[in-house]
Amino acid sequence: MLSNLGIISSSTSLLISLFLIYLSFVELKISGNQIPKKIYKFSLAQLIFSSLSFLILLIGYVFSDFSMINVYENSHTTKPLFYKISGTWGNHEGSLLLWINILVIFSFLFLILNKNKNKNFKIFTLIFQNLLISIFFIFLLTNSNPFSPVFPVPDEGLGLNPILQDPALAIHPPLLYVGFVGSSIYFSAALAALISKVEAKSLATTLKPWISISWFFQTTGILAGSIWAYYELGWGGYWFWDPVENSSLMPWFLMTALLHSVLVLERRMGLYSWVIILSILTFTMSVVGTFLVRSGILNSVHTFANDPSRGLFILTFLVLMVFSSIFIFFKYTPSEKKNYRIFSKEFFILINNWFMTFFLAVVLIGTLYPVFLDTLIGEKISVGPPYYNFVLAPFLIPLLFLMTSGPKHKWVSSETKKFFDIILFLSSLLFLIIFFVIKENNLLINLILLFSIYLIIQTIFDFYENLKNRNINLSRIISHFGFGLLIFFISINHIFSVESNFNVRVGEKKDIKNYVIKFKNLETSSGNNYKSVVGYFEILNKKKLTKENLKPEIRVYNHPKTITYEASINSNLFSDTYLTMSNISNSDIFNIKFQKKPFMNFIWFSVLLVSLGGIINFFNRKKQI
């Protein structure tokens, strides 16, 4: 029954979407500036029915209604309630339904919240957005239907992969979707703005809040994913340049460039085309990412189950979307007077866009190259962290430098600021102190440290100066400060991380650097839906004479039958101690991986600071800067 209700609800929402498109085209021919109540009402109805669909699926999961094949394949009666709920979007079909809901929510919110006077602009945005909604609904109902019934109804489900049963992983998709699916609204708005000839400042004011919000959620979504990877996947890292991770990072680069560009557009005309192009590209890149993740052409620990028919649908949609956008852009783009003055704010934002596009290109090339090589030539190579680190890391230096000196330049002036000033002096001093303490001899890392310190010090100075002049551009200061901290702590973490992989039996101990690791004993245990073997370890810090206890586990889940290796992590303020164990088959020997990871909490905190800037920007809408 739920199955039928779900299909009816979704289909209704689809029909309303199509009707909205029709109503909108009709409305275009009518003059006047008021959008008729009918459109608002149907928009609300569309929202109600799509939310209802999602709710129906959610109920199916909560009450373990296995008459829907999606619930059967991805859930189990013994799953904890929280994970039954999050299991709704932990699979391809359910997450697609979430995708669509976000599209609908943003469509509705834009309609009722947007104060732009240009009626055609709002109507065209509605049209484009609803085209997206309709196409995705059709995809859902014909190819990836979460409400597909199964008969006879099974008694029990197949269960959800235990590594997906984690709180960070539960919120990670919703956060990301508000981010990159939310970018659909400014995609639609950009195309609409071209056709209805919205002028620059008006467009900037309209788009800025949507861009800020989606950027904030994209940043925190990526953070949640990294936290999940760190705590749950058991390798001690938080970023692997895995294709699925890259798929969330690539839209982020574009969103960042777009956010900066739209801030400029509020004041100057010059970046109009950039804002339009970046708006179109962001959502396009989101769809590219969705394609890569769901089509099965990439090999990753994160991918959904494979099905080439999905890939074909998304690819076709992508092609249509890209070529339509290009056509609209080239037909309607205004010829504008560009007057970029060197060393003006616009100039630095353009430089920023150059860097962001470059980073995007590197990640895209690294991700797609193995696929292209294999398809065209038949040779298989891997592109992993060494490639990305090697190519990208050096460019952090000029980026950090530009982030520091760029904002110092005034909007109109073309004077060059003094290069050597007190802040650079202070930073160099601080850097030298740190250098002599840590004694790192890698030139690249030292430069990165130097320039991240420079950015940190500069933003602190900016903060005080702004306080003095009561001229708060808090969002920029906090985000750049956070970014400086992030790079700084990632570098320190990289330098001081300790890792050791060794074999040991119960009762034995091992000396690693300043630590003595004792394998005290082994016990069996069980949880809600698993049985486990727990290792009790005592870590003695020889320098500080402190002891800590860690208990990594090997868990055996039955539904589905999987073995997971649970890391035992002590997250202290300044450093994390990280231990995983696995046993060597046919022996009583255990393979232990011991890691000391400094400043992890500072890394997470830095990302939060970065994202905070976005939210502050959102709330700052009314202020004239």
Binding site: N299, Y340, F358, F395, I397, L444
Partner: protein
Amino acid sequence: MKKIFFILILIFISTKLVAEANTKDKILKNLRCLVCQGQTISDSNSDFANIIRSVVDDKIQEGLTEKEIYKFLSEKYGDWILFNPPLKNNSYILWFLPYLLFVLGGAILYLMIKKTLIEKK
């Protein structure tokens, strides 16, 4: 201009001087676990990873350099086992295209700025 040049030089020099403390860990992190989904030999708990870790240990004891170990393994298993793609005929584009694009982007930017500066005059 001078400071930009200075920074560029620093970048290119620094890419040459990437030293790493623990070679064994570095090697294990650079090898792909062939029977896992996107994990390194360092991270994986599979039997295959255990064997390869053992073999890398032996090779280091025998005195092989990092490069030689990669060569040994990639001969047997293909380049796919290496996360750092070796610079070969099939990876020139991979390694050089990003820098090409960066320079291209810079050139386009420069042309855009130059045009408006001339217009201004």
